[in-house]
């Protein structure tokens, strides 16, 4: 799924790095995978982090494998049924498959629960301490005041919202922490649907992303 309009607000380097090394929790991974499905820039950035992982794997000190280890792998391969070409069933959806897996189809299939002033939400089931939810904000409406004591990531799926920071359209990501006091308002003309992910108090590390910045221009 690609956008016609240019995505202006991207994933943080830190999120991309942690998604690439497998340390990001499920809820944030969901947002990252959904955004990357919409954004070639971030897909390229992710692939360069994976290249760093590959280069590090290539150069790391090896740990000796056990006796008969290779034979065990061959036995494992032979014990597995021959894989036939799997054509996974593609469910038609207006959102990337990473997200449609969680909502069981399209945005129109979402079971919304009102949370006040016309705003609705739908919690998505993810493991861990972070929470993923869809927010439905009618055009021209402000999100009821909410506080987050950790990080909050908001990814616009449809429509757009504005806050003190900027305007965010489809595919755009806003990262907020506890210091940001903002009140997003859905812009007039179209109702806005977002994927919002919040974490338990958890500090992202931020230094490693600088490592790969030189490679992001690849």
């Amino acid at each position: 799924m690609k956008n016609d309009k240019k995505i202006e607000h991207h994933l943080s380097e830190d999120l991309l790095m942690r998604y690439s090394n497998g340390t990001l929790c499920e809820a944030f991974s969901l947002a990252v995978a959904t955004h990357i499905s919409m954004c070639d820039d971030c897909r390229a950035a992710l692939e360069s982090y994976e290249a760093v992982g590959g280069a590090l794997l290539d150069t790391t000190d090896p740990e000796e494998m056990g006796d008969e280890s290779f034979e065990s792998v061959m036995a494992l391969i032979e014990s597995q049924p021959v894989q036939t070409e799997q054509v996974s069933e593609v469910v038609a959806s207006d959102v990337p498959s990473a997200l449609s897996d969680y909502i069981g189809g399209s945005l129109q299939d979402v079971k919304w629960r009102p949370i006040g002033l016309g705003v609705k939400q739908s919690l998505l089931k993810t493991s861990g301490n972070s929470t993923a939810r869809l927010l439905y904000i009618p055009a021209g409406t402000a999100v009821p005041h909410h506080s987050h004591n950790g990080n909050e990531l908001t990814l616009v799926l449809k429509g757009a919202f504005e806050d003190e920071v900027a305007r965010f359209g489809p595919g755009d990501v806003e990262m907020a922490d506890e210091d940001l006091d903002h009140q997003p308002v859905a812009v007039e003309g179209e109702d806005c649907i977002c994927l919002a992910v919040t974490d338990a108090p958890l500090k992202f590390q931020t230094f490693i992303h600088k490592l790969v910045q030189p490679f992001l221009k690849i």
């Binding site: 497998g22 590959g54 794997l57 494998m65 290779f70 498959s97 493991s127």
Partner: protein, 213 residues
């Protein structure tokens, strides 16, 4: 090193019993593939596995990557037993998914890293990892040869830059990437003062930037 591994390490040595028949299996790949530790051939070996289920090619990939996947998993927090088991499973996945490897999209080590990373998530962290939609090329559009070549060159420059870091810096970068450590945790682990670590990382970054031009 076990005797067993000596044989495995060098399947093409004159002393290897069935070397003639083995060499026949890779006929057409040229002599380069027979050289030991020629990391530029991992992609070709993967393609051999994919196209002809070549066990000798797979064994060479195993000899290089399995101990490194094990090392990665142990650095990510797995114990010896689990790391051994998971790296075996990861190598089985390499065999099973070799057909999906596209040398135009990634180097062999990058592709294998993503398999090891997914194994870490499934088996050790036991969480689900949503995946981005696959980018699919329309059948008639083949990625340009020079793009593949450029990708390969960039990957090699990156790998060389990391290889050529002073050992302490390389280890630090590796810790930060493999283990999810913060600055202060690295300081605790290495016993190094924080300021030294920061400047080492900065130095490492500058070297990498320089190497990448």
């Amino acid at each position: 090193m076990l005797r067993l591994f000596d044989d495995i390490e060098n399947p093409y040595s004159p002393s290897a019993k069935s070397s003639a028949s083995l060499a026949e299996q890779v006929v057409g790949m040229g002599p380069k593939i027979l050289e030991e530790n020629n990391s530029q051939n991992w992609e070709q070996l993967l393609v051999l596995v994919s196209e002809t289920n070549d066990r000798i090619a797979f064994r060479r990939l195993f000899n290089h990557f399995a101990p490194r996947i094990k090392s990665f998993l142990m650095k990510a927090g797995a114990d010896q037993t689990m790391a051994e088991e998971c790296s075996q499973e990861a190598m089985a996945t390499v065999w099973n998914k070799a057909k999906l490897f596209d040398p135009n999209r990634a180097s062999a080590s990058t592709w294998i890293f993503t398999i090891a990373r997914n194994k870490r998530i499934d088996a050790i962290r036991k969480v689900r990892r949503p995946e981005p939609d696959e980018l699919t090329w329309p059948d008639e559009i083949e990625p340009a040869q020079e793009e593949a070549l450029e990708l390969k060159q960039q990957s090699e420059i990156l790998a060389d830059a990391i290889k050529n870091l002073p050992e302490k810096q390389r280890q630090l970068v590796e810790k930060a990437f493999f283990k999810e450590l913060s600055h202060s945790e690295i300081a605790l682990e290495t016993g190094l003062p924080l300021g030294t670590i920061k400047s080492r990382i900065r130095l490492a970054l500058e070297r990498l930037r320089h190497a990448m031009g």
